[in-house]
């Protein structure tokens, strides 16, 4: 099958184990993030997984202000700042620019990864509509990488749409009258994006606390073709109030308590990964209290607060039609079975596409670069003589 080359996705193999990860670093020393920062680690892992033929766009946030200082930038790959709400639009602009130049012969034709990262404030709050738009524009290969440290951490820890219920931030301090000032349940961003963007070929959640899983998801996203999204939970010692040595432990506890699920949705097929897969198979979830009481931001919690939090997490697992992913269930009679999910895309191997299938990824094995046509409509010439369909269009 032939197609226009511009816009091809680079095909990257899964890493599989930390020892097999590439030794080359594309996110080096020079950043100024806090000790124990699990938001700078995914930058390093993401750059390592993506490799040198990559352009990174970074929105305003910790990973800009603390991470990319003039004259001491850690980025080895080309990097550009973008506005707080512009992860989606910066990625589209960069990918469209490259694609047009390659198609028109103004630039060497080759696959180049485009990754735009944003924090939870920039992505889940301000930039959500631009990310949504980017995920519908299937002509462009790009990855939106949301690092979620559950607050506006760079500006002194303020509540974001990703701050957990009840957490203390500088905008939600406990007081004499109100113990709980943050009363909003955390937005389910990857689930929302997956549910609303059926043409997006890859959406995943990860955490640097499980680094190989996260890197392999970056590679799967970049190899999928089209726009993709990754949500990454990053424990934050400053914002969550804990000793920096516990960062990784907290990331793992978020998964084991069932508060934060690990999964990937490839071509419309969901697979839980890592420990979340075991929870989906019936392994007992740890009580949320084990996770919450290790963090100072929940130190004001009383028993009823823990109970409420546990109840909400139990709902995610027991009442959502797809646990932790799709936040509703059936209201009326409907004949549906989840035993054998339908495989929407024939390119996905059926044995990997199962709901609780093999660990890792449902993406195809590929050598080099895919020549799958992304845009069949680009070839149509039959409309050359098509008249102006809307005569009144002339303003």
């Amino acid at each position: 099958m032939t197609t226009e080359a511009p816009g091809r996705a680079l095909k990257l193999e899964p890493i599989k184990s930390i020892k097999k990860a590439p030794k080359e670093e594309y996110f080096e020393s020079g950043h100024r993030t806090c000790q124990g920062c699990l938001s700078s680690l995914p930058m390093r892992l993401m750059a390592k997984a993506a490799g040198p033929r990559t352009i990174v766009l970074g929105t305003t946030g910790c990973m800009y202000v603390a991470n990319t200082t003039y004259m001491s930038t850690p980025w080895v790959v080309p990097w550009m700042h973008t506005q707080l709400g512009a992860a989606g639009s910066s990625a589209i602009g960069t990918a469209a620019g490259l694609k047009s130049l390659m198609r028109k012969g103004k630039m060497k034709d080759e696959p180049i990864n485009v990754i735009a990262f944003c924090g939870d404030g920039g992505g889940a709050d301000m930039g959500l509509s631009a990310i949504s738009a980017a995920l519908t524009d299937i002509e462009y290969n790009l990855l939106i990488f949301l690092y979620d440290n559950e607050s506006y951490a760079n500006t002194d820890i303020q509540t974001s749409g990703q701050t957990p219920w009840g957490a203390v931030t500088t905008f939600s301090p406990p007081g004499k009258k109100h113990r709980i000032m943050q009363r909003r349940w955390k937005k389910n961003v990857p689930g929302m994006l997956a549910a609303g963007h059926p043409d997006t070929r890859y959406i995943a959640s990860g955490t640097p606390a499980v680094p190989v899983d996260m890197m392999d998801k970056v590679r799967a996203a970049l190899s999928a073709g089209g726009p993709t999204y990754m949500h990454v939970l990053d424990p934050c010692p400053k914002g969550w109030h804990y000793d920096p040595e516990h960062s990784t432990e907290l990331g793992k506890l978020a998964i084991e308590t069932g508060i934060y699920p690990l999964y990937e949705i490839k071509d419309g097929v969901l697979n839980f990964t890592g420990k979340t897969k075991q929870l989906a198979l019936g392994r007992r979830r740890k009580p949320v209290r084990e996770y919450l009481e290790k963090q100072g931001r929940f130190a004001h919690f009383k028993n009823q607060d823990y109970a409420y939090f546990q109840k909400k997490v139990d709902e995610m697992w027991e009442q959502w039609i797809i646990p932790c992913v799709v936040a509703f269930s059936y209201g009326g009679p409907i004949n549906i079975t989840t035993e054998e999910p339908k495989v929407r895309n024939n390119n996905v191997k059926r044995e990997n596409a199962s709901w609780i299938g093999e660990p890792g990824h449902a993406h195809e094995e590929h050598e080099g670069v895919s020549d799958m046509p992304n845009e069949p409509w680009r070839d149509d010439n039959e409309l050359d003589e098509y008249p102006n369909a809307l005569p009144s269009m002339g303003q």
Binding site: Y70, T94, A96, K106
Partner: protein, 404 residues
């Protein structure tokens, strides 16, 4: 709906202002465009969409979900070396303001058409210049066109000047909503070869964002370096006038039009004692007024500013110093400004302060929200300016055509 007749190496075409910009976008071989609807600019995006659909232009055409994204998309496409075109109007342009504010600092030559529109509320889609003027201090170059032909010409000029490596600044084309965006006139369109001679390919050089050139753009600089970076942009802004002069000379040589002066147009000013001064579609009623008053023996003229940024201060001081009085017509407002005058008035008075011969400068605010500025209103402004020229006491600032 086109009437084409070859004229030397040029084709004649009946177009609106927005369609004229689209023709220039096509000949400039723009690579990436982002569209979002708002009147009255959006006719240009309808026109380029049709050019792409018909295969006359090869470009990425992205329908954004907001003006903010529209301008961010083009900013970033520009950073990887593609020539971009974008635009908006009124509050849409203001919605993109964050992006508009940083684009000059990034030194990216984004070209935007601003179909000038009132900043509603209250709802109004007619012309006012406050939308585009909101970026006047930020490093945008701003050109106000008079008609569809100048829409076409100024678009090519915008790419030529903005992409010059001594400049690298974004350019905004102020196009009066309705009066120019939606009015058809015959324009002359040059052939591709001549356009290519005028407009070299866009080349960011060592500032290209590409894996072969792994630079970091706009890192966190803070007080350590921001001042030096601002000064570099200031230096670039100072170089623009020279670049405009060069481009204007080439434009006249290749396309055979453009007038003597690259920055403003003088109309019947040779022996004038007083003139009106303004921008945009105002030119038409102003010229009608000048001709009618000249028939009655009045020594009146008109000066139409084309480049508002950079502001041609010295050039204007030299020319306007010949007159006894200048009546500045502002299609904008600047509440609480010196004398409560308009933006153009305040800028012009600042430009004339050091001049050896300073005319009296009075101000007229009119045509807001798309209200027509008629030749009769221009007569009224000319009369007040004439009285100012004669040394009579007149209001410094007058609102024209306001119902009591």
């Amino acid at each position: 709906m086109t009437i084409s007749k070859p004229l030397g190496r040029q084709t004649e075409k009946l177009t609106t202002g927005t369609q004229a910009v689209a023709q220039a976008v096509k000949l400039a071989d723009v690579d990436v465009m982002a569209a979002y609807p708002i009147r009255p600019y959006d006719g240009v995006m309808q026109a380029v969409a049709k050019l792409i659909a018909d295969g006359e232009l090869d470009a990425e055409y992205i329908v954004a979900e907001s003006e903010h994204s529209q301008f961010e998309i083009c900013k970033h496409a520009s950073a990887v070396g593609s020539r971009v075109f974008v635009g908006s109007s009124g509050v849409g342009w203001m919605y993109a303001m964050e992006s508009n504010a940083v684009t000059p600092s990034l030194r990216l030559p984004v070209v935007a058409m601003i179909g000038n529109r009132a900043l509603d509320d209250p709802g109004a889609f007619g012309v006012e210049h406050n939308d585009a003027m909101a970026v006047r201090d930020l490093g945008w170059l701003l050109f106000w066109v008079e008609d569809a032909q100048e829409c076409f010409d100024a678009t090519l000029m915008a790419y030529r000047v903005g992409e010059d490596k001594r400049v690298f600044l974004p350019v905004g084309l102020g196009v009066d909503g309705a009066f120019i965006t939606h009015s058809q006139t015959l324009i002359k369109i040059p052939d591709q070869e001549t356009v290519n001679e005028f407009l070299p390919p866009y080349d960011l050089g060592e500032r290209l964002l590409h894996p072969d050139n792994p630079i970091s753009i706009a890192p966190q600089a803070n007080e350590d370096w921001v001042m030096e970076i601002r000064k570099q942009t200031d230096d670039a802004a100072k170089r623009v006038k020279g670049v405009i002069r060069e481009a204007h000379d080439d434009f006249r040589r290749l396309f055979g039009r453009g007038g003597d002066n690259p920055f403003f147009e003088e109309y019947m000013t040779e022996d004038a004692e007083y003139v009106l001064f303004g921008m945009g579609s105002l030119g038409l009623p102003a010229k009608v007024m000048v001709r009618r008053l000249r028939d009655r023996g009045e020594k009146v003229g008109f000066v139409r500013l084309k480049w508002f940024r950079p502001f041609p201060d010295e050039e204007l001081a030299e020319v306007l110093g010949r007159f006894r009085a200048v009546g500045v017509v502002d299609r904008d407002y600047a509440y609480g400004s010196p004398q409560h005058g308009g933006v153009l008035f305040t800028d012009l008075r600042a430009a004339l302060y050091d001049a050896e011969r300073r005319p009296r400068v009075v101000n007229f605010i009119g045509g807001l929200g798309g209200r027509e500025l008629t030749p009769e209103m221009m007569d009224e402004m000319a009369y007040i300016t004439k009285r100012a020229a004669a040394g009579e006491t007149v209001p410094t600032v007058s609102w024209i055509g306001v119902r009591e």
